[in-house]
Each structure stands twice: as structure tokens, then as C-alpha cells.
């Protein structure tokens, strides 16, 4: 039977009935003392990275504006776009967990800015992301599944230019600004939080309206090159890295080792992605801040499947798997656990398709 990814459909009901929803997930054993040390928060790494990020954005946009409308400005816009349309994705993510900084207001401030850049309502998406962690890649429960089965390859490819996500994001923003919450959002946002959803959407509409008004007044798209459009022309990096998180792997299992992927990446991508390439580790222990994930990885890798050696190598398994899922949607990449790993539930590990 075809999978139904709707939060309100038959698979959602089945997940609840079969105990897949809000279930107990596998965790590698790490002594409390070590885990406490890994979870410790700090301001310093994220302050450094945030100064670097905003400093680079101001510089690149400044040069882009200075060279506008010459084509010489293009490389500066492309670099600015990646910081706006991709680095902000990982900042949004880390701050939604509250783990980027030790100081709460710093987390919240960066979270608001990053949510705006990514066109993700900061209230709505905090709840949807909580659900993604409760029910990771459980069909009908996880609202953040990128590569469904069969995979909507056209949608994924369009999203390399942010087209589907930002279209939906802006559509939702207008709906929320009109005072409404989509029924699917209502399935995971508590009643008392909904006025906040609407308030933020109205503030955003005002910012976009001012930007568009400035563009019209000056007869130039330059203001939109700074605000709004980089969500499109800079989205490719976060999609490139984000697709690898779960694509092609098992669904409906309660073990992140089987449905998530850790990929070794170059330092530039890791800065943009804030170490989310350690994705199994992040899902297993979402309390560990991004700057400690390499340490967590070293600590628990004996219990995890071998990481992918590079993005290239990861895509060389993901792309054929996605193509195969177009024809056989039950096909998936079965993760081999190392001999030193603890098994979890035999029914998950033994299934081979």
C-alpha cells in the first residue's frame, strides 16, 4: 500500500496504533558524567561563529551593492546567498534546540533572524521540529521528511533553488498573517501558541512590504537581492547537505542508527551546516551542542554504522537508492552495525529488502 505522509491520514493513525508514535528510541550507553560534560553549553563558539557569519554577510552584500548592476557583483551575491539561504538553516536548527549559546536571549535572537531568512515561522517550526525528533521518519507523524517514498525528485531538485519551500513558506506566512493557522499545523501547535504564529507572520509581511516598496521606489531589485531572493539563490547548500540526513534509509524504525546518516564533510560545509553532518549523533543526543558533536562522534562511533566518507560518497549511495525507490518504494539502504554495536530490536535490524 502506498505511503501516506499526511499528518491526518491512515499512516498517521497506524503509527499511533502500532506504537511507533512517541516511542522509546535506542540510545548508545554513555556514562552520565561524560554525557554531562558533552552537554555543557558555552557562548564563546557560537559568538565567534555568529560574528564571522554576520561579518561575512555584511562584507559580501556591501561589495555586491557597490558593484551592482555589473556582473562582477554575481560571485559576491552567490556567496552572500549561501550564508543567508543555507547557513541560516543550520542556525535556525541549532537555536530551535536552544543549544547554540549558553545565554538564552542570544539563542532566541539568532533563532528569530534565522527563521525569517529561511521563511519558517519560528513558533510553528519549533513544534514541527519537536515532532521530527519524537517521530523521526515515521510516516504520517514526522512533518519534516524531505525524501518521501517514492521520492518527489522534482520537488527536491526545485528546492536546490528554494522554490517549493519558500513558495510554501511565503504562502503560509500570508495565511498566518490573515489570522489563520493551517489545519495540519493545528495538529501539532498548542492552542495557546497560535497567536504568536500570527504575530510573527504579520511582522514579516511588514518587512517584505517595506523591501518591495523600496524596490519599486528605486526601480531596482537590489533591495530584494539583500532580503528575500537569497532564500532562493542561496538555498542549494542546505539542500545538498540536508538531503543526506535521512534519504534512502529505513523508515518506521525506532533506532536513529538505521534512519539517519553521518557524513564526513569539509570544514567550509561544516561551518555552513554547523556540524549537522553528525546527524545520527544529533538525533540520539539532541542536548549536545553543535561544537561538541565531533567529540560525541568519537565517543560513540563504535556503536554506529560506518559514517559516509564524504558528500560525494554519500550521494553515490543516495542517488541510486532514490532512483530505485521510484519503482520500488519499499526499497531502502539497510545500515550495517559494526560488530561492537549493541543491537536494538531484532525486527528492525533483521529486515532486508
Amino acid at each position: 500500500m502506498a505511503r501516506d505522509y499526511s499528518m491526518l491520514g491512515p499512516d498517521a493513525r497506524r503509527a499511533v496504533e502500532t506504537g511507533l508514535a512517541a516511542a522509546e528510541w535506542y540510545h548508545t550507553d554513555v556514562p552520565r558524567k561524560e554525557m554531562k560534560a558533552l552537554m555543557q553549553r558555552a557562548d564563546q563558539p557560537a559568538i565567534r561563529d555568529t560574528i564571522l557569519l554576520f561579518g561575512a554577510m555584511i562584507l559580501l552584500a556591501g561589495i555586491g551593492i557597490a558593484l551592482w548592476p555589473s556582473w562582477w557583483s554575481a560571485p559576491f551575491w552567490l556567496a552572500y546567498g549561501v550564508l543567508y539561504g543555507s547557513a541560516m538553516d543550520s542556525r535556525w536548527h541549532e537555536c530551535s534546540h536552544g543549544t547554540a549559546f549558553k545565554t538564552r536571549w542570544m539563542n532566541d535572537a539568532l533563532y528569530q533572524v534565522a527563521s525569517f531568512c529561511m521563511v519558517r515561522n519560528p513558533v510553528t517550526w519549533r513544534w514541527s521540529h519537536a515532532r521530527h525528533h519524537t517521530d523521526t521518519i515515521i510516516v504520517g507523524r514526522d512533518p519534516e521528511i524531505v525524501a518521501m517514498r517514492p521520492p518527489a525528485l522534482r520537488r527536491i531538485l526545485l528546492n536546490f533553488l528554494g522554490i517549493v519551500d519558500s513558495w510554501n513558506g511565503w504562502g503560509r506566512m500570508l495565511l498566518n498573517a490573515s489570522g489563520k493557522v493551517h489545519p495540519e499545523e493545528a495538529s501539532y501547535i498548542p492552542e495557546q501558541e497560535r497567536p504568536k504564529v500570527i504575530r510573527v507572520a504579520r511582522i514579516w509581511v511588514a518587512i517584505y512590504a517595506a523591501t518591495i516598496a523600496l524596490a519599486l521606489a528605486t526601480g531596482s531589485i537590489l533591495p530584494l537581492m539583500v532580503i528575500g531572493l537569497p532564500r532562493l539563490y542561496g538555498a542549494w547548500h542546505h539542500v545538498l547537505t540536508g538531503v543526506l540526513q535521512h534519504a534512502g534509509l529505513a523508515d518506521n524504525v525506532l533506532d536513529h542508527r538505521l534512519n539517519s546518516r553521518t557524513v564526513y564533510m569539509n570544514p567550509v560545509s561544516r561551518f555552513i551546516y554547523w556540524n549537522m553532518n553528525y546527524h545520527v549523533e544529533h538525533h540520539m543526543f539532541p542536548m549536545v551542542p553543535y561544537h561538541r558533536l565531533p567529540d560525541l562522534h568519537a565517543r560513540i562511533k563504535h556503536d554506529l554504522p560506518a559514517p559516509n566518507a564524504s558528500m560525494w560518497q554519500a550521494y553515490s549511495e543516495v542517488w541510486p537508492a532514490l532512483k530505485r525507490q521510484l519503482r520500488y518504494e519499499d526499497y531502502f539502504l539497510k545500515r550495517e552495525l559494526p560488530g561492537s554495536a549493541r543491537p536494538y530490536r531484532d525486527d528492525f535490524h533483521a529486515v532486508a529488502v
Binding site: 512517541a22 554525557m35 552537554m39 536552544g98 549558553k102 513558533v123 539532541p286
Partner: protein, 103 residues
């Protein structure tokens, strides 16, 4: 009538940390603050009923290990989404080297 229950030794909990305490069919979290005071709350997060025992204590806050909701463990107040409901708290006293909770 509520009873004072012997929950643990003062040394069972590290400074700025918590332990789980089960009593009857109920489960609690007992905290030791950075200034060496003891507190007790319900053990399960009010968001999705995950136990707080693997969470992180920082100052007077406990962060849930599942989705990082934060509570003030002195008052039980929910400080950060996705928790909206406060945690229930219980009176605690220290007698000698024992921590007692009024349940």
C-alpha cells in the same frame, strides 16, 4: 495526609545535577542546586512525558533531554517551548545526610 519520604543521601546527587526517584507507581526528579540546596519535581516532562533524569541542570533550570524544554526546578515553571505546562514541585528537607521529600 502527605508523608516525608526518605529519597536519597545528599551525596547521591552531584552538585548542579539530578537523579531519578521512584516511589510507589510514581516517578520524581530530585535536584541539587549549585548552592547546595535540594528540590523535587515530577519526573516526567510535561511535553511528552519523557523522564528528566537524562536532562541537563544549569543553575536553577532543568532542560528536558528530548526537545530541550526548560523548567525552573524550584517553582516548576515552564520556561521554554515545547513545554507549556508547569512541572509539579514537592517540598524537600535535608536531615543529616538524607534528603526527604513530602509526597
Amino acid at each position: 495526609m502527605a508523608d516525608w519520604i526518605d529519597a536519597c543521601a545528599t551525596d547521591d546527587i552531584e552538585e548542579e545535577d539530578l537523579i531519578r526517584f521512584d516511589h510507589g507507581d510514581r516517578t520524581f526528579a530530585i535536584y541539587r542546586s549549585p548552592s547546595d540546596e535540594y528540590f523535587c519535581t515530577d519526573g516526567l516532562c510535561t511535553h511528552e512525558q519523557v523522564h528528566l533524569e537524562d536532562g541537563l541542570v544549569q543553575d536553577y533550570e532543568i532542560e528536558c533531554p528530548k526537545h530541550n524544554a526548560t523548567f525552573d526546578y524550584r517553582t516548576g515553571e515552564a520556561l521554554r517551548a515545547p513545554a507549556c505546562e508547569n512541572l509539579r514541585t514537592y517540598p524537600v528537607k535535608v536531615q543529616g545526610d538524607r534528603v526527604l521529600v513530602e509526597l
